[in-house]
């Protein structure tokens, strides 16, 4: 999806407000937009969530089903995360195979969750090297207002926190569903992704679509419940100084704390 050309007047306004440390929607530089998380919205899926981060909306479903393990990882289950920007989410979004932007989005969301070890995949094995449980998380962006990285990540995490893992038994080495029996997913930590944009020398947390169109560069930093950093991705066509990179990590840790609380609440429903 190509970024909408932002009109020069709007861009001027964003830049001049930033010089005074202000943003067009009144937020502080380190403030995220209101986050609304609804879980269990797709009953047919084993887990699901709809997240609204400002006006960005993502619907995510988790499908859990038996699968063959990866060749050299026979002692763990499978976790795969995808993302799609639906054509109805934005006038510039086109149907078709994923472009580089969507591929990056999916891989960054996937890495943030995978590297945190949120799901203990070793607990998802039915028969070592032969049969495991696969968790497939598919994010669909339904409305675009910037910062799809965080919205998809929160929707994925909320879906995983509230999913129910069906029970499978091996009958003659074939995994068979045991109806009506479920278990909690093996959760070890709650990863929280925080994306920051750089406009001139200002760093802003959770850029909306207009700010996204003015950014020189962005960075997404994911932290786990211990406050450690488990994934980083820099994007955009400018660079960061080391001081800015350190500042971003600090902003990410403090913003993540509040969001983790919201995810925990959603996880309890």
């Amino acid at each position: 999806m190509n970024v909408t050309i932002i009109d020069q007047l709007k861009k001027k306004k964003i830049l001049s407000l930033l010089k005074d440390g202000q943003r067009v929607d009144g937020r502080a530089l380190d403030e995220s937009r209101p986050l609304v998380i609804d879980t269990g919205v797709i009953p047919k899926a084993e887990g699901s969530a709809r997240v609204r981060l400002g006006d960005t909306e993502v619907v995510t479903g988790v499908k859990i089903q038996p699968d063959k393990p990866f060749p050299d990882l026979g002692d763990r289950g499978i976790f795969i995360c995808t993302a799609e920007i639906l054509p109805l989410s934005d006038p510039n979004a086109e149907p078709g195979p994923p472009n580089e932007e969507v591929i990056e989005l999916a891989r960054v969301v996937d890495r943030g969750i995978r590297e945190s070890s949120m799901i203990d995949l070793t607990k998802l094995v039915l028969q070592k090297d032969k049969s495991v449980i696969g968790l497939f998380v598919d994010n669909s962006v339904t409305d675009y207002d910037g910062n799809l990285f965080d919205a998809c990540s929160y929707a994925s995490v909320a879906s995983l926190l509230t999913c129910r893992v069906p029970k499978y038994e091996l009958k003659n080495d074939v995994p068979t569903l045991v109806e009506g029996e479920f278990s909690e997913p093996p959760i070890t930590t709650i990863p929280v992704s925080v994306t920051m944009g750089k406009i001139g020398d200002q760093i802003i947390v959770d850029p909306n679509a207009d700010e996204w169109g003015c950014m020189d560069a962005r960075i997404t930093i994911t932290t786990n419940s211990d406050g450690n950093i488990c994934a980083v991705q820099k994007g955009g066509n400018d660079g960061f100084t080391v001081e800015q990179l350190v500042k971003c990590s600090q902003l990410s840790i403090s913003a993540a704390a509040k969001i983790r609380e919201l995810l925990k609440q959603a996880g309890r429903k």
């Binding site: 990056e104 070793t122 991705q233």
Partner: protein
């Protein structure tokens, strides 16, 4: 991720890594500029067991025309691995990983490349990984930057890249393939050495905030070491010698 059983010793008591290097030592690096006849600019790099070729065309006409920007030239980048470049044959079609790396490399070069004076054109950067080892995206970037300079594309600064990581609870420079698989964190970094800006940074793995900062700085030190090889490659080709 979990702890994996491994036979190799990632870091001995004496601070020697599995391939005999010390914690601040990069693998062997060799860069040659101007290796292809047809490309406007080119470079070949060997970085550890990575063998990577980069070719640049441009600035040139953009096709399809709707991609052209009327204010400035655009940069296109394709990172592609040869089927024979890895242990198990890789399907020649671009994988999602290659597409992401292509994007990340392009965004690491864009801050350096000055395309304001070439509206409606494109600079194409083609990177072919002939043999892959850990840290191939950094090695690819190092070759691409030299190829761009070889082509005479105006640049604000060179871009140098090197990965740092965490292995056996220690921050180390330039992790190799085994360290990437068995280690605890992998952070590729790209840096503009004279302007002092980081243009690529990614992280897989878990680091405390202190380790994160140390890893960035270790990566930057690696970038500065690679910069010397990039300079050498260009000087050797254009000035006939590597001293000046």
């Amino acid at each position: 991720m979990g702890v994996r059983k491994t036979d190799i010793v990632l870091l001995s008591d004496k601070g020697i890594r599995c391939d005999g290097r010390s914690i601040d030592e990069p693998r062997r690096i060799m860069i040659k500029a101007g290796v292809l006849k047809n490309a406007n600019g080119s470079a070949y790099i060997e970085f550890g067991e990575n063998k990577i070729l980069a070719g640049v065309f441009g600035p040139r006409d953009v096709h399809p025309k709707h991609l052209a920007n009327t204010d400035r030239g655009i940069l296109r980048c394709r990172y592609h691995m040869q089927p024979f470049s890895v242990g198990e044959r890789k399907n020649p079609a671009p994988s999602r990983r290659e597409i992401e790396i292509s994007k990340v490399i392009k965004e690491a070069l864009e801050p350096a490349v000055m395309l304001e004076n070439f509206p409606r054109t494109v600079v194409d950067v083609f990177i072919e990984v002939l043999q892959a080892d850990g840290g191939s995206r950094c090695a690819a970037l190092d070759a691409a930057a030299v190829a761009l300079a070889d082509a005479g594309i105006p640049m604000r600064d060179m871009v140098s890249a090197c990965a740092a990581g965490k292995v056996a609870d220690t921050i180390v420079l330039d992790i190799n393939n085994e360290e990437d698989q068995e280690g605890q964190a992998d952070m590729p970094v790209a840096y503009m050495p004279n302007l002092g800006k980081v243009t690529l940074v990614q992280l897989d793995g878990v680091l405390t905030p202190q380790e994160y900062e140390k890893c960035i700085n270790t990566g930057i030190n690696g970038c500065k070491l690679v910069y010397e090889f990039q300079k050498k490659a260009l000087r050797e080709k254009f000035f006939g010698d590597s001293t000046q």
